[in-house]
Symmetry: C2
Subunit: 442 residues, 2 copies
């Protein structure tokens, strides 16, 4: 299995696009180069946004069920006002005392189990995972890393070395071992899923040791989203973590995708599994589109690193970043975000299930809260992936102005991942639009 | 030589601080942990800023000759307005067409030699250097990295592995070789400095090869700031780069410190040396405190990486980041920033030279534009470093409300590094204040 090729769009191939857009694409290809891709679908130029809505240059309103970085909503007024106020007054780094930074850290840590009592604030999810693993290596003295087979944790060189989703062009480290994500269809029962996952971790540790690597960490997305979204059952993780701890390693929960109430059941994906990680990384919705990320540590894991190495990020945890992130927490409190995710997510899941239950091309609907996956296959018996049909559904939805994406190693799992700002009306619109494209599933 | 220990401040040891500040420090130590340090001096809580001025809670105005991230000035109105406008409308990532992103890339690249024609936009200087070296490794197939002896390029695991300034707690990679910074006192003439640097690069390459590493890159801060600030003479770098190219490696110019006109002579520090790097990294002043960074590439170096690996940074190059960075370029054009740096830097250098010329404790003043270093020694013959006297000067200046810092492996080079917004009046105030503390140099 290799990564899907980059979507570099050649303007000569999209002559049905407006001239303006072709010109932007041409100039963009000139200055940004081939590393910059477009979203799955034919590009749309958005000029404003609100809630889960993006508006294009012609004034068309798209329902955004894909971009969840702006978790509390595109251009949310409370966040915008907080950033605007802050940037007009002061923006010092963390080498200066800022009461707001301390208050923010206290508020954010209060959403975690008490064991996770120390916070660092880098700028991106990649930096958060890079720091987490750097601390894990320092603390354990080990180098071995265990991730899932199609994991994506970011793009620094270190993090790319344990992000197999990046494909063959980006080599995995010799210290990295892959395990299969917790797909319950691979096992006869919940108990056997736990054993299956435990056994895989044990095998990976043995193989690392055999090659001279002691374990540093198991790092896992708590919803296994890039592997295809595996949210149920829960409860098997403690067995994996026990193996990791027995080998002297740490459990790092990557909550960049699953955190900030995206899964509805709880603020953090790991909580659903009843485990308390050693390190937790956060990104995306933490700043509603402002570049900030976070790492929460058990102090016994991070304090020595702090004393002997230290961590300073010039652009992380500045007054402006803290203003954005604090405003996001305000909105979570003021707008009952988590409660709404639970209700709207359940309605959305039930509606999608009804629409696809009898399709010969849908093998499974998975997910929790507002992170849902619909697995598209050639037939339900063989569950052979059908990424082409998957892409056609995405295109058809986009033509009807609803944005979703896809995930999984074969690219055949429709990814419905709206911002947590998604309302009941948004759910209705998504379901109505999905009903109109469901002919592709008959 | 080891790194200076972290400045973790225990509130019980600073009982002369206001209660409010002691309380912030106590709570901060609880939630942020020991990895978070304070600035060199006793902490001051700043609540607003303008130009090169920071204002504390009591309304005292400090002259900021240290924090140059807000290059065009603290809370600059034009940047603040641009960010405020943008955050209220739209903030998409680079997977969507944004005309403003393309225009920004064109404008920024126009400040570079034509060979550097492709741009990527991460969020931090660390991410920029990490990407640069990742591309260099991919392009060359080599792994060897050459840096200066006290280099600092950032804090991802990869970048920390070639940032010896981080000290013994942060291990260097086995693929990393160190060379001494271009201190002209080590050589009899300019020609011999060139030969000295060339020979060091050659020796490093040979040693890398002997250990099985082919060269990937020489990465160098164009003003060698962490090594103690070495800006003169120029002209020796081409010889180093020739050696690097002959070995199949790339030259990465780290302009996080020396870029955006900080050195006055030119927008980019490498231009002073008459070289055209293969990759250039930018940070700090690029966003005036907004988390954005940049990497400019020769396309022949980056295009294959772009095609086969790609690079997407969820939080890099978004509409909001581009709005901040574009506004910074506006100010550079509107306010003749570079011209002012040249004039004010020259006045500052001449004034400091006059004030310290006869001191038995000042061995040298170095620097260019608004990046100056004053080397403090126990006596001028032995040039034995005197970090204690250095620190006392910084403290005395801080008590008189002028902020500077120090650099170099021994921590004995006063670092005068104001934002490029520094005015003629600011220069006068700095010189007057420095005159008042010059008794420490008699």
């Amino acid at each position: 299995m290799t990564a899907r090729p980059p979507k570099r769009i050649d303007p000569s191939g999209v002559s049905d696009l407006p001239d303006r857009l072709q010109e932007i694409i041409r100039r963009r290809n000139t200055v940004l180069g081939p590393g910059y891709q477009f979203s799955e679908t034919i590009p749309v130029e958005f000029v404003s946004g609100f809630g889960a809505h993006l508006v294009d240059r012609e004034g068309n309103d798209y329902l955004d069920a894909f971009n969840n970085v702006q978790g509390v909503g595109h251009s949310h007024r409370h966040v915008a006002d907080a950033v605007s106020r802050q940037i007009a007054s002061i923006n010092t780094d963390t080498r200066y005392p800022q009461e707001a930074l301390v208050v923010y850290a206290e508020r954010l840590l209060a959403t975690f189990p008490a064991e996770l009592s120390k916070l660092s604030l880098p700028c991106t999810g990649s930096e958060a995972n890079d720091l987490a693993v750097r601390v894990a290596r320092f603390h354990t003295g080990g180098e071995g890393i265990i991730v899932t087979r199609w994991a994506f944790h970011g793009r620094t060189r270190e993090v790319a070395s344990f992000s197999p989703m990046l494909g063959a062009g980006s080599p995995l480290g010799p210290n990295v071992r892959l395990i299969t994500a917790p797909d319950p269809r691979l096992c006869a029962s919940e108990q056997s899923l736990e054993n299956y996952m435990r056994e895989q971790v044990r095998t990976a540790i043995n193989d690392l040791n055999r090659h001279g690597y002691r374990l540093a960490a198991l790092i896992a997305d708590s919803a296994f989203t890039s592997d295809g979204i595996f949210t149920h059952p829960v409860g098997f993780m403690q067995a994996m973590v026990d193996e990791v701890h027995a080998a002297g390693g740490l459990h790092i929960a990557d909550e960049v995708q699953s955190g900030f109430a995206q899964l509805g059941d709880s603020m953090w994906g790991f909580s659903r599994h009843g485990v308390v990680p050693d390190i937790v990384t956060m990104g995306k919705a933490i700043g509603n589109g402002f570049p900030i990320s976070g790492v929460a540590f058990r102090p016994e894991v991070s304090d020595e690193f702090g004393q002997k190495v230290s961590y300073f990020n010039t652009l992380g945890g500045r007054s402006l970043s803290v203003a954005a992130a604090s405003a996001v927490l305000d909105v979570f409190e003021q707008e009952n975000v988590r409660g709404r995710v639970v209700v709207n997510g359940a309605t959305l899941l039930a509606g999608l299930d009804t629409l696809t239950r009898n399709s010969p091309y849908v093998s499974e609907i998975r997910g929790s809260g507002l992170y849902l996956g619909i697995e598209i296959v050639k037939n339900r018996e063989t569950i052979e992936p059908d990424p082409i049909r998957c892409e056609n559904i995405i295109k058809d939805l986009r033509d009807r102005r609803v944005l979703i994406s896809r995930t999984g190693p074969a690219g055949n799992v429709l990814k419905v991942r709206p911002p947590v700002a998604f309302t009941a009306a948004d759910v209705s619109r998504l379901l109505e639009t999905f009903a109109a494209v469901a002919k592709l599933l008959l």
